[in-house]
């Protein structure tokens, strides 16, 4: 699993994950993910457009991040295109916990509001 961090207006941070968000993938990025995505005082957009698999460990990572961001009153948004990953996250009810957008532009617009 690879992780790319970008600066977004807001201020906010974009975290693009690439690959598989399974146990091995989470182990590979969790520390850096938490440091980048959960930086105090910033909203976060997590882009899963190039993630082709999420397991329960990946869901765990997202839920933990969402809980932290909520406690700080900071935005956390997901970009998840239509497909098996989105279906899985909807099955796990992540769409009811974290705003999910099909396209990055929609998420960026929501982040700016």
């Amino acid at each position: 699993m690879e992780m790319l961090v970008t600066e977004l207006p807001g201020p906010a941070v974009g975290v693009d994950l690439v690959g598989r968000l399974d146990t091995l993938g989470v182990d590979a990025v969790e520390t850096r993910f938490n440091a980048a995505a959960l930086a105090a005082g910033r909203g976060t957009l997590i882009d899963l457009s190039r993630v082709d698999f999420v397991s329960s460990m990946g869901v765990r990572l997202l839920i933990m991040a969402a809980k932290t961001m909520k406690s700080r009153h900071q935005q956390l948004l997901l970009v998840v295109p239509e497909g098996p990953v989105r279906e899985m996250l909807e099955t796990a009810a992540i769409d009811t916990l974290i705003p999910m957008f099909v396209q990055r532009q929609e998420a960026l617009a929501a982040l700016a509001r």
Binding site: V59, R60, A66, P84, M88, A92, T96
Partner: protein, 144 residues
């Protein structure tokens, strides 16, 4: 246990550990990928990968550290995966599945593995035979 395989059958031993689970995933996809309704169905592949990751992780987390015997077969009815382990008695089908959270306060970070297997499986069945747990998980292929 000697490994057996034909076009529609694969039997192998999975050693404990996430790297071994990953090797098993790749092996299963490589073996059955050419079969219509399997490799050409994103949802079928996802279902197989979820079952492998979640069930094997669960067994290795709670088991004795011994390898798991895996048998995967494909026919007109779909995919049948059989896992045999020598861990403590465990019947996943008797475990209550977590309720879908309606908000973040209700959400629990863990416990989703069995829920996901149940969602993606057409059926599942646990039995205890000769001191071992035998788990059968059936998955539809994309042929229908």
């Amino acid at each position: 246990m000697a490994e057996r395989q034909s076009r529609e059958l694969l039997e192998l031993l999975v050693d404990p550990g996430m790297e071994a689970i990953e090797r098993t995933r790749l092996r299963v996809l490589q073996h059955f990928g050419p079969i219509p309704g399997f490799g050409d169905s994103l949802r079928t592949v996802y279902a197989v990968e979820i079952v492998l990751e979640e069930w094997l992780t669960n067994v290795f987390r709670h088991g004795t550290g011994s390898p798991v015997a895996l048998r995967v077969s494909v026919d007109a009815d779909g995919i049948l995966m059989r896992f045999v382990d020598d861990g403590p008695p465990f019947d996943a089908t008797e475990r209550p599945l977590p309720a879908r959270p309606s908000n973040l306060d209700e959400a629990r970070p863990g416990g989703l593995g069995l829920f996901l297997i149940h969602h993606y499986a057409k059926s599942w069945h646990c039995a205890r035979q000769d001191g071992r747990n035998v788990m059968h998980i059936a998955i539809d292929t994309g042929r229908r």
